[in-house]
């Protein structure tokens, strides 16, 4: 709609237009608002756990998947950081390589977080269980959508190749994944130890 838009036949895709500083500022601001909104349910769930179950931690919660999930998410996060670094150098194959690993580890994390939530060790009809399961489930669903975002970003970088003019998609995915990591660690520590 902008009057200055090009009249050429090229159809543009995400990441194919150069971003001005103002554009980047807008995107970062919008993402921040979005993440604030995403954090609200997590806060609500953490709060509700104390309302419903107090500080009780069920002794039978399985520890190893949570620890392993933390490691997997950390690795995934390190690979998205590597992806962002490659993006700064416009090293597209590097991004795709990093994202392959990041996507794999994120998938592992999704499965690992899913295990304690759905393996039936905790009684859902207990005050701790009834808050534990929805909280872990919410994190898992968030992570699943993040994972789809990572797939999309990787696919875009791979398909668009040389036509990419900005790497905002890569940076944004990295930010969201780290946000998820923080959410997960807070939830994990709170549900398992506090």
């Amino acid at each position: 709609m902008a009057a200055s838009s090009n009249q050429s036949n090229d159809v543009l895709y995400p990441m194919q237009t150069p971003l001005s500083r103002a554009d980047l500022f807008k995107l970062k601001g919008g993402l921040t608002l979005f993440l604030i909104g995403l954090a609200v349910p997590i806060l609500l769930l953490l709060e509700m756990r104390y309302v419903v179950a107090g500080g009780y931690v069920a002794p039978q919660v399985t520890q190893w998947p949570a620890i392993a999930a933390t490691v997997a998410m950390l690795l995934s996060g390190l690979f998205t950081v590597a992806g962002s670094k490659s993006a700064k150098k416009a090293n597209r194959p590097g991004i795709v390589r990093s994202y392959n690993w990041a996507i794999l580890f994120a998938l592992i994390a999704i499965i690992l977080i899913g295990i304690p939530a759905f393996n039936g060790v905790l009684d859902p009809v207990s005050h701790y269980g009834e808050t534990f399961i929805p909280t872990m489930g919410t994190i898992d669903v968030y992570l699943f959508f993040t994972w789809i975002g990572m797939l999309a970003t990787r696919s875009r970088v791979k398909r668009l190749g040389n036509k990419i003019e900005n790497y905002w998609g890569v940076y944004a995915t990295n930010i969201v994944l780290w946000f998820m990591f923080v959410c997960w660690v807070v939830t994990w520590v709170q549900l398992y130890y506090l």
Partner: protein, 214 residues
């Protein structure tokens, strides 16, 4: 929400989809929707009346839900041997089952409310309880009961406690067998628990008792 595409958004081409198809489709969906919402029971009844009514024999299943019986119409023949399976499918409400005719009522601020059937279908009927699971209580009134399962502590025998009715807890079921007594005509069945509201909210049905075959 990652990238900015606005520079690509010019209304360029008009490629037309059919207006007629769109209007017909939307109108058709609207008619179906309104019909589903407001004419559900007349349509269902019409379909039901198309099906020939068969007489229930042998094993008859009757499900209880909030607040309905499934099926809500039955047809028995005098002299037939019937085994009735009654199941409460509600996750959280108790349900009972009376069969009778005429109403006893009690006055309230909102007019008289039916509290039960006046005439008990089961008066003098021999019944045999085959199965009972999660029964809250079972009033026998004037029915003559034999039981294949331990009838304690839920069986309330003898008249004076209201009409014959098993009351089932959520998820409970009972099975009993009997010979259809010689009481032809139209009878009603219903559930009157929770201050008689279940019956008022539609938890009722009808039974046609056909005379014995000659």
């Amino acid at each position: 929400m990652s990238d900015d595409l606005e520079k690509n958004q010019q209304p360029l081409v008009e490629r037309e989809w059919s207006r007629r198809e769109f209007l017909l489709g939307a109108g058709g969906l609207a008619v179906v929707g309104v019909g589903a919402l407001f004419a559900k029971s007349p349509i269902a009844n019409a379909f039901q009346s198309l099906r020939p009514q068969t007489t229930d024999q042998g094993h008859v299943r009757l499900y209880q839900g909030d607040f309905y019986f499934d099926p809500n119409h039955m047809q028995w023949r005098v002299g037939d041997q019937v085994t009735l399976h009654l199941m409460n499918q509600s996750p959280n409400r108790p349900h009972e089952m009376w069969i009778g005719r005429g109403f006893d009522t009690t006055p309230t601020e909102f007019g008289p409310i039916a509290t039960g059937f006046h005439t008990d279908f089961w008066d003098g009927v021999h019944i045999n309880i085959l199965e009972a699971y999660h029964v809250s209580n079972w009033v026998t009134n004037n029915a003559i009961v034999t039981s294949q399962v331990s009838p304690h502590p839920w069986l309330v025998t003898g008249p004076g406690n209201g009409n014959f009715s098993p009351t089932l807890e959520p998820g409970g079921y009972v099975t009993w067998s009997f010979t259809v007594p010689n009481k032809p005509g139209r009878w009603m069945y219903g559930c009157f628990v929770q201050s008689y509201i279940h019956y008022d909210e539609g938890m009722r049905g009808t039974i046609d008792i056909l005379p014995a075959k000659v």
